[in-house]
Subunit: 226 residues, 2 copies
């Protein structure tokens, strides 16, 4: 294992400094920090960039430097709430995709006054006649499909990965493009195995944790398929 | 929503180019790409940096430019396998942390010849007398605790978030520091609620997906606590 890189040493020092400053305090400029720590500006910039990516510093418009990001709560969103579509939602858009038989329902997940995620679901229009007119956007999408179209969902195998926010998603989440996000996807089938919907949720890595649930497994160590 | 940033336009073009080149092909230098697309080198560099971060390009040592990263399989690791400690492991280290009553068991998760994750578990030494001598590293840690210390685990609520690899973790995973990783953590209790272990798994975002399981919920939409 190699020695700790210079920029990471700088980052550790910057984190110490940061922890003592109140929210929104302008952070010392690159040049000043470079002198203070006896490190190159390139090294300091790399450390600052990482703190901005992690949401600990915010970069001000133009060449105004950085400031301490307001410490906001990290919200816990359960996998169950994401799938059931129970997270508080706003800006729900229903659109037909291209000339094809596909409906897309997209919503922004909010906590307080902040966007913390985007949820996007794809359905086949022919499978859900009248969907665009019938769906009133106030109910959970999943509950609506169950109540109106008598869908009985089967078990689900969502998967989770990390990605960099695309400019479009970044715009919706009010973060810089390329901010790390958590991506949760699933393909929902009904209990007979017929595909019902394909969903995809992107969560701000700096604002949201995904929480899961595993039942008791003390009596037997199951062999996994992984 | 703002227009698509220049660098993202560049990234899209670079992705097109990339998709036509075989693994390990040297990628055209910044200067050449800037001329080809009529964009600034700064713009091209930003796009290249993002592709390197995503593991689609590799940066060669020194000033050798970039090359097409070998397309490797993305491995699916189940949450269950991570918790049960069933993922293929190597380099298992058991150490006492500081002068304190804490044991740390750390292992590298491998698939093929690649490290794709790091698993780290903390236990109280006083709760598991003789652990360091008794644990033979060949069994799953969880199974060992169940068999040897008669632990009966209760249900679990792991949480998942995204983070940037620290230099130490990056070294173990053979990626650049600050590469986005998936982080899965849990606090395991026994069935009476006594804390047993605290674990933490970091997975390479470009190589591993976390898969989960949700049972059938068609009969009732449960209210979630999220």
């Amino acid at each position: 294992m190699s020695a700790i890189p210079r920029y990471y040493q700088a980052k550790t020092k910057l984190l110490d400094l940061l922890s003592e400053l109140p929210d929104n305090t302008p952070f010392p400029p690159e040049r000043e920090l470079a002198e203070l720590f006896g490190m190159s500006r390139t090294t300091i910039r790399k450390a600052l960039d990482e703190l901005v990516l992690e949401g600990k510093l915010i970069r001000k418009a133009g060449r105004q430097g950085t400031a301490v990001a307001p410490r906001k709560q990290v919200h816990r969103l359960s996998l169950d709430a994401l799938v059931q579509d129970l997270a508080t939602r706003e800006s729900i858009v229903v659109r037909t995709v291209g000339a094809q038989d596909v409906i897309n329902v997209e919503s922004v997940l909010v906590r307080g006054d902040e966007p913390i995620g985007v949820r996007s679901t794809y359905l086949r229009a022919s499978q859900f006649p009248g969907f665009a007119e019938l769906y009133d956007r106030s109910a959970s999408l999943r509950k609506f499909l169950m109540d109106r179209y008598k869908i009985r969902f089967g078990e689900l195998h969502p998967w989770c990965t990390t990605a960099l926010a695309t400019p479009r998603i970044a715009g919706m989440l009010d973060v810089r493009p390329a901010t790390p996000v958590l991506s949760v996807s699933w393909m929902a089938h009904d209990f007979r195995g017929v595909p019902v919907e394909r969903s995809w949720v992107v969560l701000r890595g700096d604002r949201a944790h995904l929480t899961m649930h595993l039942p008791r497994t003390d009596h037997v160590v199951r062999r996994s398929t992984a």
